[in-house]
């Protein structure tokens, strides 16, 4: 059996399983759905993968900033079919924009949106005419964000902004834009959108990592733009049950997120194949040495499934689609044969049904570039 066949079977087998129950969601947003949303956007079903063996040194974990910039340039130009960086970025950003760069720092300081990738994005956004004070590198939690020190890598004046400067505070969230759902009888049934997202940014660039996720199966574009932009989301998992199957796509579809998220840059210089989204144990870290580009978060996340599954297969770990109770263990140390939750990687397929992109691998046009 070749790799592609294995992955197709792995992806297809859960379709035989029953559909996870969909909670009753109440979406509250005053933002209309635009006629032409940025997500999945102009390149629906398209993805560009740029690899470079020199992008990061696996032994030291040190990224090569110069190579990373070349990868960014090649990826965005290939996606837009432009020959100049500025022309390519102008497909997404104009000088009048206020740009939020959604990083992922949940595994920091061991894995996060690499400062080199983020710095490269900031440079291109500024080259498109956006002044530094109109650029925000943002994440929900202050401690995680601070541990990365993005400020040392980007131009002075760029905002490095945490939403929860005090952990659990809802002051940084929009009281009028939220999803209400009762998963397990919790009394706080609201998850509110980050206020910067709804009220300040005109464009968002999503910069997730390539990680397995103990509840969602993988955490890529959709998870970063969903759970990373709303409050009170960890309530969706309890015991071995996770509601990520439907909650991730539901959150990602709340306007104005689809209207503003113009580009996904999935940082796969390093990855996590087990125990994600965290990365406490280096033995579960690996180095795909690639970056994915696209406006279609579903297509990119579909490709991410294959990256994680391939690595787990190499490590003889169960598929992320495995739902066997025999592989559920709610406590104890990390063991690749066990997981805390029944993972829900089909959240990506579910998101495609909400119109967020293309899940079917046969319909995804992938351009591969090796530097």
């Amino acid at each position: 059996m070749d790799r592609r066949t294995f992955l197709q079977i792995a992806a297809a087998s859960p379709l035989l399983a029953s559909e996870p129950a969909i909670p009753n969601y109440r979406i509250v947003s005053r933002y209309p759905k635009p006629a032409h949303p940025a997500m999945p956007g102009p390149y629906r079903g398209h993805a560009v993968r740029v690899r470079s063996a020199h992008s990061i040194d696996a032994a030291s974990g040190v990224e090569n900033a110069s190579v990373v910039r070349q990868m960014l340039s090649a990826g965005v130009r290939a996606l837009t079919r432009e020959t100049k960086d500025r022309d390519a970025w102008s497909h997404f950003i104009s000088s009048s924009d206020i740009v939020g760069i959604k990083v992922n720092c949940s595994g920091a300081p061991n894995i996060m949106s690499s400062p080199e990738v983020v710095a490269g994005i900031v440079e291109n956004v500024m080259a498109a005419g956006v002044p530094a004070p109109h650029i925000y590198v943002y994440e929900r939690f202050l401690g995680q964000l601070r541990s990365v020190h993005y400020d040392r890598h980007v131009a002075p004046g760029v905002n490095i902004q945490a939403v929860e400067t005090s952990r659990g505070s809802i002051a940084g969230y929009d009281p009028d834009t939220y999803v209400e759902a009762d998963f397990f009888g919790e009394d706080d049934t609201r998850s509110n959108m980050v206020r910067l997202v709804s009220q300040t940014f005109t464009k968002i660039i999503n910069v997730p990592n390539m990680k397995e996720h103990q509840a969602a199966g993988v955490t890529g574009c959709l998870k970063n733009i969903a759970y990373g932009n709303f409050s009170n989301v960890s309530r969706s998992h309890r015991d071995s049950v996770s509601n990520t199957y439907s909650f991730i796509g539901t959150l990602a579809s709340v306007e104005p997120i689809p209207a503003k998220t113009v580009l996904n840059v999935m940082d796969g210089l390093r990855g996590v194949w087990h125990g994600g989204p965290f990365s406490y144990d280096p033995k579960f870290r690996f180095y795909p040495k690639q970056i994915l580009f696209g406006t279609d978060p579903v297509a990119l996340d579909r490709l991410l499934i294959d990256v994680i599954e391939e690595k787990r297969k190499q490590e003889h770990a169960p598929s992320i689609f495995d739902r066997s109770p025999a592989h559920i263990r709610e406590s104890g140390g990390l063991d690749p044969n066990f997981n805390h939750f029944v993972r829900e990687p089909r959240h990506i397929e579910y998101a495609s049904k909400l119109g967020l992109g293309v899940y079917d691998l046969a319909r995804i046009q992938l351009k591969e570039i090796d530097l």
Binding site: S166, A171, P175, D176, E186, D188, T189, R238
Partner: protein, 308 residues
């Protein structure tokens, strides 16, 4: 309101130290104490502090109100455990209660007793005097403490420990109740263990029963919702056209950011919060038949008065 009545509704300080501690009491702005008779006799003639003999016999001693985060204990949820005395105070409205709370947590005890209009006596240590004095100073000018309790649920209390535990859980989850002797048609739901689908057997799992009650009530009918924190207990009192939202923070740290929804449309508001003289609700709006606002910081106790 009669200032004397307000003073009567404030918790009293039970102090067992002699007159040499008078400067400490004065520093804490405490001008009246209760003391055991022999100690009270020693205080005669001390200027600026009136002393009343008191005996704790017959008073109901209450646990220290607080939050236990139970971070090392497996749990079905991430919710911290709140030690609230609300159900004790509601169950015995004519009782006299006694708190013994050292340190700054005494401020919460005073606020809790006040918000339930309880007749309470509080003992603390030297560290607790200043926070207690500050809380009493904050509480003293609050008028309308005697307004009726507003609730969704009428609870017929059989006095059992099971009923007590269930009331405790309902209060902790901000499911507003008041104790009734028989069903009150003005309330949305009546709960009586052993009747109406709430069997005593089910009370063996009070969490499950609480979920059942919440489901029967429905969230849409709830007079009060609190979002963004699991350590604040709310309470409503009021008269037609006027509602007071009492917010008690049971944690030892300020709550930074919480959203409150009160059923009904109240365009006008005022707020008072302990230790925060300029506190005011943010993002105040009337939406979908309710009044919603954000409290960006709550130390120990706050009241938001809403009116039409």
């Amino acid at each position: 309101m009669n200032p004397l009545l307000v003073a009567l509704l404030l918790p009293s300080i039970f102090w067992t130290e002699g007159p040499k501690t008078a400067p400490t009491l004065r520093d804490a702005n405490i001008q009246h104490i209760l003391a055991p008779a022999p100690v009270a006799a020693q205080w005669k003639g001390v200027t600026g502090i009136s002393v009343e003999p008191a005996d704790l016999t017959g008073m109901v001693k209450l646990p220290v109100p607080r939050v236990d985060y139970r971070i090392n204990e497996a749990s079905a949820s991430q919710e911290p455990w709140i030690y609230s005395n609300g159900w004790h105070l509601m169950r015995q409205p004519s009782a006299r209660f006694y708190y013994d709370v050292p340190g700054p947590a005494v401020a919460l005890a005073a606020a809790e007793a006040f918000s339930y209009s309880a007749n309470a006596v509080i003992h603390t240590d030297a560290e607790g005097l200043k926070p207690l004095g500050e809380m009493l100073t904050f509480l003293a000018p609050l008028d309308r403490p005697e307004d009726p309790v507003l609730a969704n649920i009428g609870f017929i209390d059989d006095g059992s420990s099971q009923s007590g535990e269930l009331m405790n859980l309902l209060i902790r989850r901000n499911l507003l109740l008041r104790i009734v002797s028989q069903p009150d048609p003005r309330l949305d739901l009546t709960v009586r263990l052993g009747a109406g689908g709430y069997s005593k057997a089910e009370a063996a799992d009070p969490n499950k029963l609480e979920h059942q009650i919440r489901s029967d009530l429905t969230d849409a009918k709830r007079l009060l919702r609190i979002y963004g924190t699991s350590v604040v207990i709310g309470r409503l009192t009021g008269t037609p056209g006027h509602v007071r939202v009492h917010l008690l923070n049971y944690s030892s740290r300020p709550v930074t950011g919480m959203r409150v929804r009160v059923l009904g449309e109240y365009p006008h508001h005022t707020m008072a919060a302990s230790g925060l003289p300029s506190a005011s609700p943010l993002d105040y709006e009337i939406v979908n038949g309710g009044t919603e606002f954000t409290i960006d910081k709550l130390n120990t106790y706050g009241v938001v008065d809403l009116s039409r």
